[in-house]
Symmetry: D2
Subunit: 369 residues, 4 copies
């Protein structure tokens, strides 16, 4: 991994040139999410949208035509050959992520990839290794991690304000679009898992994951699923995703020994509530630890911090630009994308095995493609 | 099982005699729950409180003294020998349930037992067998099942108004009393599991259960747990119980192909909401079922039925009296108590095994004690 | 008033010509609200945006340039002279409404005017008289009246589903923009009053209005105000508008003898709730009506109807087109605008007089300008 | 007024005697509210219940029999003659308050009177004058003022935490008991008005009050009413009371220049919310104050303080005992009761006069009865 350590001489000139102006971005894929990337690349003060690239040229043109200076193309090679393009943002089907990202990294581009990072561990590891070899930024678009609410959650967890982590409970349910190619876990849980990955205290990883799912409508894949994770230190994390709920809930609770925070993403008035409440168990050093433990409850005030309203994607582009300019890893780098991918695959394996806990490996095999 | 089928001649006289007046009840155990049983036995129009029995006579006297005509005793034998006592309501520690209930059944008393029915499958089966042998009612005090809200849930599920069952999701979390002798599953989940048992459509049983739990505060047992159940027909049921949550939630959602109902027990204004919404997947009979399935969404009105406010225990005594008078099984009979007990034990086994699904047996070994 | 009664022969040809294609609309005023009118005129299936006209030509051009076929102009005369323009939508300062609308009506254009209709009763009456003289549609843009929620309220009140009207209570409070030129009544209450005007049962008018207001921040005009209206039939309507509230509320309750409906515009999940609850007082025909009256309470179900989500302005253009095509008065015609204006002026007079009730005249002096 | 200033020698002995034990209380009136007074007098650590007195002796006996040591009587004279009785708590119909209270005060008893203090200004003034002449405590049972929530509101207003008072808005609506003898203002508004009286900053009085009401059900008196009050300093207070609302709301907002507090009495989880939000208007000392004013908005955090749950009546008895023991005026003394009474009478006069503002006198004519 070279980012954060040194900078190759050949890029110095280019970086200097670009530092004077906005960072040129090409968006690859003009389907569902690509237009959002294009809009943000065009409107962000530090980037400009150079290309919209799609195998369907009409679709690329419809998106590009809205933005002055943006070209439409169906030729990915053209994008890679243009020295003005410093970064490509990939929003194509997951099975194509590795091929496109690796080509872009080899061409010296920084890469932002839509979640999930790839559709196999091997591909994800190859992407990470390639980024490191070519000293480029590889960032995964975990959009929620850049909302003001999640940034706030991360800051209070990392500052230790919650005390020791006790549990994380995340619910993301809605009358959702039952899909043919992807189950509810791969559709919705990447949000919860990437947020979990971003907010957990440093050094706290996911040890194992067990999951159950059901397809009660005969959709061909799970429409309701529950993921349960054992964390380092004894805490538990749980994710409930559901396409069949008539009520919409998007709520995450992070419980700690000192405080507990509830994030209700559907409450614009009080999105985040920090409760000064908790349960403490203290132990005497007496001969019988069990009979001498004491349980204390605290019920204090609740504070709902004022948070600005800002689209997560704007923060994604902030971090993309900053990590490139500062030559460092972004918050949601390739390794974060890989960790989320491993949890998704563990969920699939656990559902298939009747709920058996799957260990979560945290090594990365650095064999570049 | 003789209830519902015939009635022994020797009881006819007794039943006739009692039908003329209120049913004499003795409450065994004057600790936490016993006083509630005593209050309801005394105030119910069809019962009268004859005894409060506790090994601590002072405690029995404090409870009995409030009610005219109620005697206090520390002598369980005295209760069993009194012919006026037709039913005993047992609210002693679970380990004593089997011994006391079996003695009462043998003495010809009907028995209402606090949940859980017993602390072992063997004891529960012996209680059921004894009740059948002596043709007495054995009822488990699953209080919530007799609230107007759960009665309503049961009625619309059984009437088929929800269509095919898709999922049940129950959350029961609070800053709760961390206990020494019982984990959060045994403390809280009996409520969810007994409600589930009462509302599931006839013929829909629990096939298997997997669970995960955590003790992040060092309490010595699980303080947070998640139970996931595979139901007959492919639906899933899930229970989340938590002693560490600063916010209190008691919400159950029952999703069906036609309607979905949400019960929020903490919302006195709108406890039950029935949503005319859902997802339907239909299949053509074409050569490729998968590509020919069609997914339809419905978003219709929501109805919040007017429900009266009434204590669950009053309904428990309604059912106790009715099942005795009508010589039939109560809604929450010994078998219902046994089913809940099996789920609790499966949860414990699954947590110990890392989330592995445990099959739920639905046979009862009828060996009376 | 000629609309709805006859159609002048000279317009027949014109109507036929226009029925073949979209209705040409010119938007006058490109400030705060004009761009919304332009967007809807351009996107509505039955209209097309012909001009954006503003004394500030740059501003007109910025708005017009977004829409193919829309011309920008600073010359109001040019708009009036263009036979393709059938309707003008006026979103200029209120003091200019009468002059512009009357000129347009005289030029044979139909007119949609931003609320308030005018800034004096005399001007409003002149506008109405001119529209009638020239047999053109004069419509006031009471946007909220065309939202699905208000359309639903109107339909159930007019269908008699609520029974006899008892009270209307409307709250519209927020941390709002304290303005220099207009008080909170003229800023916010037109919404409540126009909705009230649209939903009241036929034949139920406002008899009198009393109001109180306060300027506790020294803004120079009322920042908090309360309006109370006596309705025909003995019911009461009340409006609370407030710029200083840290919490945002937009809720209207319409109480009737049979049902009561609550519209909470900030609850996207349950915007409208119809309660089958109420109080009935019945009177015997005995000698002493007071002592023989009986009060009955009903507590029945609540129904939250499924409503589609649609911008009110789209409905405004639906009604503008339909009233022109069908040669009839629109729902929110000039007279509706005049009624709202009279209530606003009565509120001002009542606040100035210390809360004294002001009678609301419902005659219109038909002296055309 | 002698309380707080000196103590008559003749009482010294008596006070010393009583300070050694609990304060003897007689409850007069055993109807709707009397039993609550009796329960609190019996359970409060510093009082004991000596008598329950009612013209209906059976009713007095039913209440008294629950409490050891409490005698039932129909003879008010007996109560007054008993030297053990230091205070009488009067919960009889309002028309009898003055006669009973004055007799008790003359007999040397301290007096707690149910709201409203009396049914005429003259009676109330006579009660106050008598209490002062006899140097006894006269306290009005404004129960809500002693809840933890209102105590908190009072403390933050008096501490200046809200900045300058801008507005008070109180809503108390429900499907309520339509009564024969009292309108919705006299039934419900005493709560709002007494709370207002207790929480307003020192020196801030009610200058005038205007009100409107309606009787849309033909009940014979107002069932819906709105009260609007002009406060010293330019702020406004408003009260909405309604017997016909199918939804229950009990919410008071107190807006200030620095913070605004919302009290929602029906939200047990977050009864009080303090918003660090507001609107400030500052003025330059320039030649044109209007054009130089600046409006600033603040949107800061919200804090929901942890409040204990405690019945208001327990606090009433705290204050009764403390004001007697400390020989001082209670928070809700006779003058507070008189101020509330004057507002109620002003509301009646304003409704009768079509909303005309009524001045609120704040002098007390000290002519003792």
């Amino acid at each position: 991994m070279q980012l954060n350590h040194h900078q190759s001489p050949s890029r110095e000139g280019g970086d200097d040139r670009h530092r004077a102006g906005p960072l040129g971005v090409a968006v690859i894929g003009a389907g569902y999410w690509g237009p959002n990337l294009a809009r943000n690349a065009a409107s962000h003060p530090s980037t400009c949208l150079a290309y919209v690239c799609d195998v369907d040229l009409d679709r690329a043109q419809r998106v590009a035509s809205t933005y002055a200076g943006a070209a439409a193309t169906a030729d990915f090679r053209q994008v890679l050959d243009d020295p003005f393009v410093e970064a490509v943002a990939i929003a194509t089907p997951p099975s194509t992520h590795a091929r496109l990202a690796i080509a872009a990294l080899r061409a010296g581009k920084h890469v932002l990839v839509e979640k999930p990072l790839a559709d196999s561990i091997e591909d994800a590891e190859a992407m990470i290794a390639t980024a490191e070899l070519h000293d480029r930024v590889l960032m995964c678009d975990h959009t929620y991690c850049y909302t003001p609410a999640v940034q706030y959650l991360r800051s209070i967890v990392h500052a230790g304000d919650l005390g020791d982590l006790q549990f994380v409970d995340s619910v993301r349910i809605n009358l959702g679009l039952v899909q043919r190619d992807v189950d509810v876990v791969w559709d919705l849980a990447p949000h919860d898992l990437s947020i979990l990955d971003a907010v957990l205290p440093p050094g706290t990883g996911v040890r194992s994951l067990s999951a159950t799912g059901a397809d009660p409508v005969g959709a061909g894949q799970s429409c309701v699923a529950y993921l349960s994770m054992e964390l380092d230190g004894g805490a538990i994390a749980h994710v409930h995703v559901n396409w069949l709920s008539p009520t919409k809930v998007r709520r995450m609770t992070i419980g700690g020994s000192r405080r507990t925070v509830v994030w209700d993403d559907l409450d614009p008035v009080q999105r985040v509530s920090v409760f000064d409440r908790g349960v403490d168990v203290t132990h005497d050093d007496g001969p019988d630890a069990v009979t001498n433990r004491k349980i204390a409850y605290r019920v204090g005030d609740m504070v709902a911090p004022a948070l600005r309203e800002r689209e997560g994607l704007a923060g994604v582009f902030d971090e993309l630009v900053a990590s490139i300019r500062e030559h460092r890893q972004p918050l949601t780098d390739g390794r974060a994308g890989l960790r989320v991918l491993r949890m998704l695959q563990a969920a699939r394996a656990s559902i298939d095995s009747g709920g058996q806990a799957q260990p979560i490996d945290d090594n990365v095999s650095l064999v570049s493609a």
